[in-house]
C-alpha cells in the first residue's frame, strides 16, 4: 500500500506539473482539492484520466463515492487497490 501511495504522489506531481512540491510534502491524508493541496476542477479531470490510463480502472465521476475516493491520496490508494482487484 505504501508503495502505491508513493506511486500516486509521483503521478500527481508528474501529471499536474506541480513544481513547488515534492512527494514527501504531500500528506497522504490531506485534502487534494480546495484546502490542502489546492487542486482545481481541471486537475480533477486530468488526474482522473491519468488513473484510468495507468491502472485501467473506471471512475464514475457522477457517484458521490467518487468524491470520497478523490478526497486524499490515502483514499485514492485504497480505491485504486480495490478497483484493480
Amino acid at each position: 500500500m505504501s508503495e502505491l501511495v508513493k506511486e500516486l504522489k509521483d503521478l500527481i506531481i508528474e501529471v499536474l506539473n506541480l513544481e513547488d512540491i515534492t512527494p514527501e510534502e504531500i500528506q497522504s491524508d490531506e485534502p487534494l482539492f480546495g484546502e490542502g493541496l489546492g487542486l482545481d476542477s481541471i486537475d480533477a479531470l486530468e488526474l482522473g484520466l491519468a488513473l484510468q490510463k495507468k491502472y485501467n480502472i473506471s471512475i464514475d465521476a457522477e457517484s458521490e463515492t467518487t468524491k470520497t475516493h478523490f478526497a486524499s491520496v490515502d483514499n485514492l490508494a485504497r480505491f485504486v487497490a480495490e478497483s484493480r482487484g
Binding site: 508528474e14 506539473n17 506541480l18 489546492g38 473506471s58 457522477e62
Partner: protein, 569 residues
C-alpha cells in the same frame, strides 16, 4: 412573457427533465413551479422590486427557482459560482436562492428544498415579468454585471432553434457545462424548455457516463466545452456517439486537433458557438468544414479600425464593442485573432491578470507582483512575486512549498481554481527592461528554467542577502543519468551549471540574460544517492553568480565551482 411563449411542451405527459428523483413530466413541472412560485411570493410580498440571487448545482432545481422568481417579478442574479467573493460582489439581495457555500442566518439563504413543498394548491402561472442579471464568465477580473430580459434570451434561442431545430428534434439534452453561465443557461435549460425537449438535471463530469446515458436517452445532444473535449481517453465508449445527434462546444475555441479527434472517436464533428455573456451568441462554425466563424442569422459582425469586434443583434440593446480582435472576410465569415486587453482565458474562464495581481498585493509578504500565462502541460497562470522582508522570512523559515501554499490559500476564496497561479517565482524585484517595463519575454526568462523533475531533491535552504546555501540529494532517477555513463552514472557538468543557474534565478531573483562562464572547474564526480551542498554568491556590481558544489560534511571536498556572468538589463 407568457407561459406558452417560454415552454414548448404540448401534453402534460411530455417529459421535461430526468431529475435526480426520477423523470419529471410537464404536468408535474407546472405544479412544482406554481408551488415554488407561491412560496417565493409569500417571502417577497413586501418587496415589489425584489432582487434575488440564484445558484444551484442541479439544472432542474435551477429552472424551477428561476421561473418561480421571474413569475414573482424579481430580478434574478445568476452568478458564475457561489464563492464568498461572489456573494460580496452581488451585494444586496432580498433572498439567496439555491446552494450557497457560506450559510449565515442574516444572509437569508434558502436551499431549494425549503422552497419546494411537494403538495400545495396554488394558481397556475401565466406570465413572467422579472429580469435576469448575469456576470461575465469568470472566475476573476471584476466580473461585469450584464442585464438580460427573458425576451432577449429567447430571441436568441429562437434563432438557434431555426438553425439547429432539425438536428435537435426529439433529443434529450445532456451537458458537461453549468447553467450558471450564459452558454449553459441557453443551451442546457432554456432551449430544451422552449422547444419542448427533455434535459438531464445533473451536470456530467464523466464523459463515459454521459455517453452511456446518451444511449439510454437516445437521441441526445451533448452540450460540451473545450475543457472536456480536449481531455479524452480512447477507451471511453465513444461508439455510443451514434446516440448523439450533435455535440456543441462553447466557452472558447476548440483546438483543431481536438475537433478532429472528437469527430474520429464519436462520429460527430463538434458544433462551436462563439459568443459572450455580454453579447449572447454571435457566430458558429464546424471547423472541420471551415475554420472561420459564420455569424448567426440576424447578427451583424464587423471589425473597427483596431480590428476589434463590433457586433449587433436582435438580442442586444445596442452595438457592442468587444476586446476580441477579429478579421472579417468578404463573405462575412471571420477569424479570431486574440484578445486586446489583460484578460486571459484559461479553461474557458476569463481571468483578469490585474485582479490576481492586486489580490496578491494585499498580502503583507508581497510588495509587487506580475502574472502571466505559461503553458506547462496545460495553460496556467504564473506569478512573479517580489517579497517583502516578512515574506522573505517566511520563505526562509517555512520553505518555498509552504509559502506557495499560503499564497494560494490567500487567493482561493476570491478566485476560481483555474485562476490560481501554478508557477511561482520569488524575486527581490520584478525584472524590468530599460524602459522600466516588464514585458512578457523578460518575465518568461524566469520560467524557461529547468523542469522540476530535472532538479535534485532539496533538503535544506538557507538564504542571506546575496548568498544561498542549498543542501541537495541526487535522486537515482534523474533523467540526465541514463547513459551517462552506462555502469557508473554521474551528474553531467552541464547539469550542475544548470542547477546553479536555476537556484540563482529562483532564490536570488537573477533576472538578466546569461552571457558567459568563467573559471569553471570539475574536481570530483557527483553521483546519484549522494548529498551535496550548493553555495551561491551573487556579485551585484559585476552581475556574476559564483557557485560551488561541495560535500555537506566536508567543506573542502569540492565537486565543482565557477562563475556565471549575466548581461545588465
Amino acid at each position: 412573457m407568457l407561459f406558452d411563449e417560454v415552454f414548448g411542451y404540448r401534453e402534460g405527459s411530455d417529459l421535461v427533465c430526468h431529475a435526480r428523483t426520477g423523470p419529471v413530466s410537464f404536468a408535474k413541472f407546472r405544479r412544482r413551479l406554481a408551488a415554488t412560485s407561491a412560496a417565493l411570493r409569500a417571502r417577497l410580498v413586501r418587496l415589489p422590486s425584489a432582487r434575488v440571487a440564484l445558484y444551484c448545482d442541479d439544472s432542474y432545481e435551477f429552472s424551477l427557482l428561476l421561473f418561480a422568481a421571474l413569475a414573482c417579478g424579481a430580478q434574478v442574479v445568476i452568478p458564475a459560482n457561489n464563492k464568498r467573493s461572489t456573494m460580496e460582489h452581488i451585494g444586496d439581495v432580498s433572498l439567496w436562492l439555491g446552494n450557497w457555500e457560506i450559510c449565515s442566518p442574516e444572509r437569508d439563504i434558502r436551499a431549494p428544498e425549503a422552497l419546494l413543498p411537494e403538495h400545495k394548491d396554488s394558481a397556475e402561472l401565466c406570465e413572467f415579468s422579472g429580469s435576469i442579471q448575469l456576470f461575465t464568465s469568470g472566475s476573476s477580473g471584476e466580473p461585469q454585471r450584464v442585464n438580460k430580459t427573458l425576451t432577449q434570451l429567447l430571441t436568441e434561442i429562437e434563432t438557434q432553434q431555426q438553425l439547429w431545430g432539425a438536428l435537435a428534434e426529439r433529443t434529450t439534452t445532456l451537458a458537461t457545462v453549468s447553467h450558471q453561465h450564459i452558454y449553459g443557461l441557453l443551451f442546457k435549460v432554456l432551449w430544451p424548455l422552449y422547444s419542448g425537449r427533455p434535459f438531464v438535471g445533473k451536470t456530467y463530469r464523466d464523459v463515459a457516463a454521459l455517453l452511456r446515458d446518451a444511449k439510454q436517452f437516445a437521441p441526445a445532444l451533448w452540450i460540451a466545452s473545450p475543457a472536456q473535449l480536449s481531455r479524452r481517453i480512447d477507451s471511453w465508449p465513444w461508439y455510443l456517439g451514434h446516440s448523439l445527434h450533435g455535440i456543441f462546444s462553447s466557452g472558447g475555441p476548440l483546438a483543431p486537433e481536438d475537433a478532429r479527434a472528437v469527430e474520429e472517436l464519436s462520429g460527430k464533428a463538434p458544433l462551436e458557438i462563439y459568443g459572450s455573456t455580454e453579447t449572447g451568441g454571435i457566430a458558429w462554425r464546424q471547423q472541420i468544414e471551415d475554420a472561420r466563424w459564420q455569424p448567426l442569422a440576424r447578427v451583424q459582425v464587423s471589425a473597427d479600425s483596431d480590428d476589434l469586434l463590433r457586433v449587433n443583434s436582435p438580442w442586444l440593446p445596442e452595438v457592442f464593442s468587444g476586446q476580441d480582435r477579429i478579421k472579417v472576410d468578404v463573405d462575412g465569415r471571420f477569424r479570431l485573432l486574440g484578445r486586446a486587453d489583460r484578460i486571459v482565458k484559461i479553461e474557458e474562464k476569463r481571468v483578469s491578470l490585474s485582479q490576481v495581481e492586486s489580490l496578491l498585493m494585499t498580502s503583507e509578504w508581497i510588495v509587487d507582483a506580475r502574472t502571466l500565462t505559461v503553458k506547462r502541460g496545460r495553460q496556467g497562470l504564473a506569478a512573479v512575486v517580489a517579497l517583502s522582508a516578512s515574506g522573505r522570512e517566511i520563505l526562509m523559515l517555512r520553505g518555498r512549498g509552504q509559502l506557495v501554499r499560503a499564497l494560494r490559500a490567500l487567493l482561493a476564496p476570491d478566485l476560481d481554481g483555474v485562476a490560481l497561479p501554478r508557477l511561482w517565482r520569488f524575486v527581490d524585484a520584478i525584472p524590468k527592461n530599460q524602459q522600466g517595463k516588464s514585458p512578457r519575454e523578460l518575465l518568461m526568462q524566469l520560467f524557461d528554467a529547468t523542469p522540476v523533475r530535472m532538479l535534485p531533491r532539496v533538503i535544506k535552504r538557507e538564504m542571506a542577502e546575496q548568498n544561498v546555501r542549498v543542501e541537495i540529494q541526487i535522486p537515482a532517477d534523474l533523467p540526465c543519468l541514463p547513459g551517462h555513463f552506462e555502469d557508473a552514472p554521474v551528474v553531467p557538468g552541464v547539469v550542475q551549471i544548470d542547477w546553479a543557474m536555476h537556484y540563482g534565478r529562483e532564490l536570488l531573483g537573477l533576472g538578466g540574460r546569461f552571457s558567459s562562464m568563467e573559471v569553471i572547474k570539475f574536481k570530483q564526480l557527483l553521483r546519484p544517492g549522494e548529498n551535496a551542498v550548493l553555495e551561491l554568491e551573487f556579485d551585484i556590481e559585476k552581475n556574476k553568480l559564483k557557485f560551488r558544489f561541495h560535500c555537506p560534511d566536508n567543506e573542502v571536498g569540492e565537486y565543482s565551482s565557477g562563475k556565471l556572468c549575466f548581461d545588465h538589463g
